[in-house]
Symmetry: C2
Subunit: 193 residues, 2 copies
Amino acid sequence: MKLPKLAIQLPEWVAEYVDQSPKIFSGIEDRMDFVIELSRKNIEHQTGGPFGAAVFDANGCLVAPGINMVIPSNCSILHAEMVAIALAQKILGRFDISDGGKFDFDLFATTEPCAMCFGAIPWSGVSRLVCGARGEDARAIGFDEGPKLENWISALADRGLGVIRDVRREKAAAVLRDYMKTGGLIYNPGQKT
Amino acid sequence: MKLPKLAIQLPEWVAEYVDQSPKIFSGIEDRMDFVIELSRKNIEHQTGGPFGAAVFDANGCLVAPGINMVIPSNCSILHAEMVAIALAQKILGRFDISDGGKFDFDLFATTEPCAMCFGAIPWSGVSRLVCGARGEDARAIGFDEGPKLENWISALADRGLGVIRDVRREKAAAVLRDYMKTGGLIYNPGQKT
């Protein structure tokens, strides 16, 4: 059996956009604006679903961006948060972003995590999650965000992970609505197409 | 910014092991034995944590194997189930393994899913999950399986996903214990090493 290689490569426009962006993003709104723009550009370039994410260090320096790549990669695990986490770990050269609790990093996401990304966060070694739109904003356009703990924020807090919600929520949710309006595919499985 | 490519390639021994295995695995115990052997070989070859998985079609034909690759890949999302799902989707050429509900596929896992893999399953398009060891068997050797719904089996049932537990549980759990006994790394993040 020849087992294929899985190669995950962000589209070229992401590197170009990163190059045009500041080296340091001073406030959390600036960082959220950056990931919301990733989600918007991902629609415009038709390179995936309406979600963006990024890992930043404690000073606001971008470590790794992430975009949703489910459709073009034919891979359901490539949500924006997963891509950002995997890329940050690749760049830092360790599976624990915190390096044994020595460093604090934030994961920014344009929408609150689905059940999978929620479960991935404690494994990743990030210290804090910062979210734009709410899960209900994703559900409003048809995405099934999966079976997640109702008290997911306190479950992360129990593991020392902070959560900040509703940062630029309206702006982030507007991208979701635009995706729906332009006929973007809602890629829940099992749906007859 | 030069963004690295993430390349996920199963080690060579996996393809060799698959080639030595039957084309069709008639019963669910045979399929579980196959994935348990993946988990054991993964320890022996020192190519990752003590977990194996695979996607099988409804006839028991192997679609894609998966092993835990967290440590060698420096990537916390590469649990065995995630690798098997992503590889099956690559091989089938679609992000919805069921192809719009037309086909049934099973995900076999040597241990019940952690919070991340649990959340990944509904997105994947598999119809059924078959587990060997229990989550508590993984916790017993120190893995933090994450914040997962207590009623996770009924949450999957609500989405039309069946779960079969405890298939060769003792045999699967023995691999976990052997990993601990041989000093295998428990890669929860934030741990001082």
